[in-house]
Amino acid sequence: MKYLDEYRDPAAAVKFRELIRARTTRPWAIMEVCGGQTHTIVKYGIDDLLPPRITLIHGPGCPVCVTPLEMIDQALVIAARPDVIFCSFGDMLRVPGSRGDLLSVKASGGDVRIVYSPLDCLTVAAANPDRTVVFFAVGFETTAPANAMAVWQAKRLEMENFAVLVSHVLVPPAVAAILSSPSNRVQGFLAAGHVCAVMGYEEYESLAERFRVPFVVTGFEPLDLLEGVYRCVCMLEEGRCGVENQYARVVRREGNVESRRAIEEVFETGDRTWRGIGAIPMSGYRLRPAYAAYDAAVRFGVSGLTVRESAECISGQVLRGMKKPQECSAFGTRCTPQTPLGATMVSSEGACAAYYQYRRMAVKT
C-alpha cells in the first residue's frame, strides 16, 4: 500500500459513479471546501462523472487566494528592505499586490527566497545573523502547526533575527459565514481532510447540528472525492445531518493533539479579512502576546496599509460559490495565471486557475 495510486483506480471510480447515480433522486449542491480538492475535481474531471443533478460548488479553501491584498502589500514593503531576507512558500511569489508581486521585488534586488518548510527559515537566520529573516506565515489550520513550531523554536533558541508576517485563516468560521448567507445554496459539505487531520472534526459536528447540514471529511485523491460525494448524497437523500469521516486513514475525530497544542501555544484566534469575501469575525490566527516580538508587521511598522481590489474581478462570488470562473469577462484574457487580476486565479488551487489549466473552454476575446 503506497496510499496514492490505489486511489486513482479508474474501475473503482466507475463503481462509485454508478453508486452515486443510483442514489441520486433530486438535485443537490455540495461544496468541496478545500482548493486542493477543487484541483483534483477539475484535473480528473470528477464533476463530469457525476449525474447532472449533482452540482459541486468550489469553496474558499485556498489560503493563497484569500490572503488580503493589504497583506501582500505589507509583504512587498518588508521584502524590499535591504536588511531583510524574505522567505515564503513558492505559491505566494506570483500573487499580485496593488504594486507588483514578490517576484518583481526579487527582480529589483530584494532577497526573496522560497522555502519548503518554515523550519528552513531558522537555518537561513542562523547563517545570516546581521539580517532579519521574515517568513510569510500563510495558511489554513493544516499549516498552522508547522508555522507555530518555527516561532516556538526561534524563541527557544533565542533567535532574534527572525519574524513572521502572519495571515492565518480558519475553515469553520468561513463555513458558518457561507451557511448564514441569505443567498446560500450549499446543502452539504466535503470538509477538508488535512485541516481535519490537525484539528479533528468536533467543530463540524456543532456546525452540522446548528445548520442541519451533512459534512463528510474527505481526502484529496479521485476515489476520496467520489466516496465523499457518495456519502454526502446518501446523507442528503436520507435527510441526515452530522459528520462522516471518509478520510479515516488519516483523520481521527480529535485531530492531532500535539499539533493542536503547538498552535494553542503560539497563536490565538482573532478577526480576519478574506480576499474576495471580506471580514469574518474570529476567523484567523494571530500571535499570542508572549510571541509578539516575532510579529513582522509590528517590527517593520506596516500594519496600517489599506488598498482596493480590481473592480472587474468576480473572485468574491466565485469563492462563495455564486459564480463559475468562465462567467467572468476577464477570464482567460485579461486575467490568466501569469497575470492574475484576483484571488482565484493566483494559485493553482484557486477555482479560476484550475479551470484555466484543465478546461479547454471558449475564451471570450
Binding site: Y3, D91, G139, A146, L223, V250
Partner: protein
C-alpha cells in the same frame, strides 16, 4: 496549500532538539519534522505537509474503501443505475 503527501519513514534522528526523520516519497527523500507524530516508526507511512508529519496512515482504514466497493459488486442497487450511461 494544504497539500499533504504520503511518504515512508526510512530513518529517525534529532536536530536542534527536535525529532526529525528522512521520508521517502516514491524515490525522493526529504527531511521531515516528527515533533507532532513522535512515535512514527521506520517503515511506517505518514502524511507530510510543509516538512512536518501531520498524521500516521492507518493501513486498515486505507483498505476499507476497496472492501466496501467489493461488497457492492453484484448488488441490485449497482445494477439498476447507469444502464444508459453515455
Amino acid at each position: 496549500m494544504c497539500l499533504g503527501i504520503p511518504g515512508q519513514l526510512t530513518e529517525k534522528y534529532e536536530e536542534h532538539g527536535l525529532p526529525m526523520g528522512k521520508v521517502d516519497f516514491g524515490g525522493v527523500t526529504k527531511s521531515v519534522c516528527l515533533a507532532h507524530v513522535p512515535d512514527l516508526e521506520v517503515g511506517e507511512y505518514a502524511i507530510v505537509h510543509v516538512g512536518f508529519a501531520l498524521s500516521r496512515l492507518n493501513e486498515e482504514e486505507a483498505r476499507m474503501v476497496f472492501a466496501f466497493l467489493d461488497s457492492m459488486n453484484g448488488l441490485e442497487e449497482l445494477q439498476s443505475g447507469g444502464r444508459d450511461v453515455p
